[in-house]
């Protein structure tokens, strides 16, 4: 379980994350939504110890994240930041095998190789496993990075806008994979999402943020409501049930 207690992050005098508290349930998908500058990504980076917080506590299974050994934490929690746009000539397989680094420090065992194979299979990357990343499309690259996180085999998976720059087909594909990771493997997944409809359709819980504060948090159907969304996005959003999905119509 991830417990966030009264976390604050200041840039100068402005609080980008302002006394945020919440508990993220195990084995579920929790989405952070909110307008630009709401502090979603910053909060995710704090939870994953990439950014230091100014106040508060982040407890992962009861241990403060900033005090946990970095190597040990890498086997428990993984974080994928948005759009890794560096043009590096690594093959898909080499990238995915980095996911095993916390376990083998680079000397891959048979178990590691099996984990890599199954991660590649999970993301349907078999046909391109020996291609260089700079030869792939944005969607294929994103899938390769997610395969790496799968190979890392952590209980907690944090993803910062994993659908950025992806087309509809690949966005849906990735959300379905995340759903399977939670349902089949019991992973706890936290994602920052820009598109409120992906959050609505695929997540179990939603945390709505604005100006560094939590506006409301709870099960998806309690958040995807006209009143809540108006407070978060400052827009009058119509919501319709289509095929048991709550779809937000924010286009007009």
């Amino acid at each position: 379980m991830v417990k966030i207690k009264d976390v604050t992050k200041l840039y100068g005098d402005t609080a980008v994350v302002d006394h945020v508290s919440m508990t993220i349930p195990k084995g579920k998908i929790t989405s952070f939504i909110g307008p630009n500058g709401a502090g979603k990504s910053t909060l995710l980076s704090i939870v994953s110890r990439l950014i230091a917080k100014d106040e508060g506590e982040v407890l992962i299974d009861g241990e403060e994240v900033s005090a946990t050994n970095n190597k040990a934490l890498a086997k428990k929690l993984s974080i994928l930041k948005q759009a890794n746009d560096i043009n590096v000539r690594l093959t898909v397989r080499q990238l995915v095998s980095f996911g095993r680094f916390p376990y083998s420090q680079g000397r891959l065992t048979d178990i590691d190789e099996k984990m890599i194979d199954s991660a590649i299979h999970y993301m349907e990357l078999e046909t391109m496993e020996n291609k260089f990343l700079d030869q792939l499309s944005g969607g294929q690259k994103q899938r390769a990075y997610i395969a790496m996180v799968i190979a890392q085999d952590t209980e907690y998976i944090l993803l910062d806008e994993p659908l950025n720059n992806l087309d509809m087909k690949h966005s849906v594909q990735i959300m379905k994979v995340l759903r399977r990771l939670a349902d089949e493997l019991g992973k706890t997944i936290v994602i920052v999402l820009h598109d409120v409809n992906f959050a609505s359709v695929y997540s179990d819980y939603i945390v709505a943020l604005r100006d560094g504060k939590v506006i409301k948090k709870g099960p998806t159907d309690e958040i995807i409501r006209n009143g809540v969304l108006k407070e978060v996005y400052d827009m009058d959003i119509k919501i319709q049930d289509i095929d048991q999905c709550r779809i937000c119509l924010y286009f007009s």
Partner: protein, 319 residues
């Protein structure tokens, strides 16, 4: 052109044999079984030390360039284009001025301190100034290097040391004799450490957040890399002098064919660096025989053309 061990190792061996037999004192393959004492002397005191130092310098500088490019995530960063070499030369000048009796090892340490500081300053500049076009980075590095270089020249001029400094300005293996190159052996364990760290360097090259996610101590790995680079650069400059472009072009060529995973590319980079430097040295020795063209000039001329090719290929690729 593929880079293969099968090809490179025989080429290195053939060039090594050639290198031993080329020189002002005549020595032919048939002499090998009945060497005169003068010929023996030449081989042991001059030809073999020269060969070893070229191989060590070629390996060391290209591996340094590879590590720098990986850690800075920029294909155009190398000891030549990041002020590392110029800073090392300033260090040598300081060592000459303030520690007259300094042993080569002490000189190396001073040169090392300067080259690591210079490299760190350059890395800080890269951190502070976000360049949109990666081609600016080597330009900034060359400017930074020239500023350090002009400080060196100024101080040397004031102290009548210009002549002494110029021997470190242009790489030259003609002066290598037994007893004057052994410092270069320091690069052997450093290259081995680089290979052991290859996996970590590759991950660190993916960025700080990426490395941290995998539980890697990012700062430790980056600092280890920079220390290795500064040490190798310092010993090469002290023994052979400045050899430009080698650390830039060799890793770039290998990257095209072998990718950027250092476990794969480092051995090839090392080998190709040795082959390239040895070939350049042999060309320099035969082109105006019995005189020699300094190897720094040969590598500079060939290297700058390859560098231009790489820059143009890159801009063609981006457009």
């Amino acid at each position: 052109m593929t880079v293969k061990f099968k090809v490179l190792i025989p080429v290195l061996i053939i060039l090594s044999i050639l290198s031993i037999f080329i020189g002002v004192v005549p020595l032919s393959f048939t002499d090998i079984f009945q060497l005169t004492s003068q010929q023996q002397q030449i081989i042991l005191v001059s030809r073999i030390p020269r060969l070893i130092s070229i191989i060590l310098a070629g390996v060391g500088l290209s591996v340094s360039g590879l590590i720098m490019q990986q850690l800075s995530r920029n294909k155009f960063v190398s000891p030549t284009t990041a002020g590392t070499m110029d800073s090392a030369r300033l260090g040598i000048l300081v060592a000459m001025m303030f520690f007259h009796q300094a042993t080569p090892l002490e000189r190396m340490l001073v040169a090392f301190l300067f080259s690591i500081s210079g490299t760190l300053i350059f890395m800080k500049i890269l951190d502070k100034v976000k360049f949109k076009d990666p081609i600016f980075i080597p330009l900034v590095g060359l400017m930074f290097g020239n500023i350090v270089g002009s400080i060196t020249t100024f101080i040397a001029y004031q102290n009548d040391l210009i002549q002494n400094m110029s021997s470190w300005l242009q790489g030259n293996f003609a002066l290598i004799l037994e007893g004057r190159y052994e410092l270069l052996y320091i690069s052997v364990p450093l290259v081995i450490v680089s290979y052991i760290f290859a996996h970590r360097f590759t991950i660190a090259g993916m960025g700080e957040d990426f490395a941290k996610n995998l539980g890697l101590n990012y700062n430790l790995v980056v600092n280890t890399g920079l220390i290795i680079v500064a040490l190798i650069t310092s010993v090469v400059i002290l023994t052979a002098g400045t050899i430009p472009f080698l650390g830039l072009i060799i890793p770039n060529i290998v990257s095209m064919y072998r990718g950027d995973h250092l476990k794969n590319s480092l051995p090839f980079t090392a080998l190709l660096g040795a082959v390239f430097l040895l070939a350049s040295d042999i060309i320099g020795r035969v082109i105006i025989f019995p005189y020699e063209v300094a190897i720094g000039v040969i590598v500079g001329v060939v290297g700058s053309f390859i560098f231009l090719y790489l820059v143009m290929r890159r801009s063609a690729y981006e457009s």
